[in-house]
């Protein structure tokens, strides 16, 4: 899984920082590193930009995996890094922001916008693949999600705006239904698309507050030799 992120504009970041003059910046060594939004280079650059423009002092670090709890040692190190900071800017996806916010009593602000869950279709080119609707339909559509790939999320076929394989919304955007149709045809399954797809159950999606799930966790191992 990759959380695809994009840096917010500097003016927006400054507006969030408000009167904070001393700012710690935390990047993330996984997805934002790959997307070029929160790796070592980007956080140093962001600190320098802020110092040049508006804040008194900005310094940075990159958490190995911002969305996972820090080991006790790393936690200590991170806390000392935050000493004297009036705000923490997190150059990670929203999960990283939330994780840091849980660990410190300081304003924790997002430096990035979390755009989508995507895959790297080709080097440096990320494509959204999942709307996390909670009820996967990929099996019915040849592995191409109509919720994500159709600009209207249509379940029963292309709208009237599909022209030459492109979506009317953007001439560079492939029509999701053209992709689905071509794929299903190649699989010899195009006829299945003639079936009327029943109403979608959105109750499993973004309408019931934060979704939660518990899985069994193995108990910690006994120390060896006992």
């Amino acid at each position: 899984m990759k959380s695809i992120t994009q840096r917010k504009g500097i003016e927006e970041i400054e507006a969030m920082l408000g009167s904070a003059r001393r700012v710690a910046i935390a990047g993330c060594g996984t997805c934002p590193f790959m997307a070029g939004t929160g790796g070592p280079k980007e956080v140093v650059e962001l600190a320098r930009t802020l110092e040049e423009r508006s804040v008194e002092r900005a310094w940075s670090t990159v958490l190995p995996v911002a969305c996972e709890p820090l080991a006790p040692e790393a936690q200590k190190e991170f806390s000392s890094l935050l000493e004297g900071a009036e705000a923490v800017l997190v150059a990670a996806c929203s999960l990283g922001v939330r994780m840091v916010a849980d660990q410190v009593v300081l304003p924790v602000l997002p430096a990035l916008n979390t755009l989508f869950i995507g895959r790297e279709a080709e080097p440096g080119f990320f494509v959204e693949e999942c709307a996390q609707c909670g009820d996967c339909v990929l099996g019915e559509y040849g592995g191409i999600c109509p919720i994500v790939h159709c600009a209207k999320g249509l379940f029963n076929g292309p709208c009237g705006g599909s022209v030459g394989g492109k979506c009317e919304v953007d001439p560079n955007l492939p029509c999701g239904w053209q992709l689905i149709y071509d794929r299903m045809k190649a699989l010899g399954r195009a006829e299945e698309l003639a079936r009327i797809r029943p109403y979608k159950d959105w109750s499993k999606s973004l309408s019931g507050g934060a979704r939660r799930m518990r899985v069994p966790v193995p108990p910690p191992k006994e120390p060896e030799g006992k």
């Binding site: 209207k152 999320g153 249509l154 709208c159 705006g161 149709y181 698309l193 009327i196």
Partner: protein
């Protein structure tokens, strides 16, 4: 009779039907709707009122159709999946019944990107095929989508749209078949300019036997100027305006008259295509031209049933 609407009666009696579109104002003026009704009310069998077409906020179709009904005109209420979820849509269907509206047209809706609130969130809780099915189930099964009973009749003539010019071309007939299976009684198509391509599509439609299950009304958009023709070719998705039409308009002394002649030729040709049961005239911002076109096409007076 499913609804007893004038449109249904005209089609069931085997007449070549005419529907005309009325564009509502960016105001709460009932008078604007009434004026259109007075001007063109005699020139078509039923009148569609668009619902926030191209994503631009206007007086809503439900209210405008109720105004037309008050005048004794048959109205086609347009409903979009873009702007409402299944609760609102089904409630509006009941509202239409309460206001004696007898035809509905179920659409996905243009993407909000093209409108005057491009930052709005498109709803698309259900899609147009599912909306057709929902209206049919309310009418024929007396059931809401959730399965609960509708406590009364829902006498509606159900319409849907199809664009024979969009892609994938080979899937367009299958998609129409889905709408018919879902419960569409009539279909209004995207504007026809490229008649041969439309004829090819209609052949497929007839081969699939769909012309016997649904009434197809060919979309007709009169062209007022060269600029409009160019604009439609370039910006209106899925509308194919042949170059020779644009050249013909460019060379005309009286562009409006040439545009009308062109439209009359198209009407004459589509009337001859097997399976076409009527036309749907969308004179966007030029409603007053509808009676003249119908008169010259030999389609007046409209049948009284």
């Amino acid at each position: 009779m499913k609804s007893g609407s004038n449109l249904e009666k005209v089609l069931e009696a085997g007449h070549f039907a005419v529907t005309a579109e009325i564009g509502p104002p960016k105001s709460g003026s009932a008078r604007v709707i009434e004026a259109h009704g007075e001007e063109i009310g005699h020139a078509a069998d039923a009148f569609n009122v668009t619902d926030h077409q191209t994503g631009v906020v206007r007086l809503c179709s439900l209210a405008a159709c109720a105004i037309l009904r008050r005048m004794g005109l048959d109205a086609v209420m347009q409903m979009l999946c873009r702007d409402a979820n299944r609760i609102r849509l089904q409630g509006d269907i009941l509202g239409a019944v309460a206001l004696d509206i007898k035809n509905v047209l179920c659409l996905s809706g243009d993407h909000v990107k093209f409108g005057n609130h491009p930052e709005a969130k498109g709803v698309f809780d259900i899609d147009s095929v599912q909306l057709v099915r929902a209206v049919k189930d309310m009418r024929d099964e007396r059931k809401f989508i959730c399965g609960e009973e509708v406590a009364g009749e829902v006498p509606l003539f159900i319409g849907a749209v199809e664009n024979p010019y969009a892609d994938p071309f080979e899937f367009r007939t299958a998609r129409l078949a889905k709408k018919v299976e879902a419960g569409a009684d009539f279909i209004q198509t995207q504007a026809v300019y490229d008649v041969p391509k439309f004829r090819r599509w209609m052949e497929e439609v007839c081969e699939a036997g769909l012309d016997r299950k649904v009434h197809i009304l060919a979309g007709i958009i009169p062209v007022k100027s060269v600029g409009m023709a160019r604009y439609m070719k370039k910006y209106v998705s899925g509308v194919e305006v042949p170059d020779e039409m644009i050249t013909r308009l460019e060379g005309a002394k009286d562009v409006k008259e040439e545009g009308i002649r062109m439209i009359l030729e198209i009407i004459e040709q589509v009337m001859d295509i097997p399976g076409v049961h009527g036309i749907h005239v969308q004179a966007v911002g030029w409603e007053e031209i509808v009676p003249e076109i119908m008169e010259r096409a030999g389609l007046l007076p409209r049948p009284v049933i």
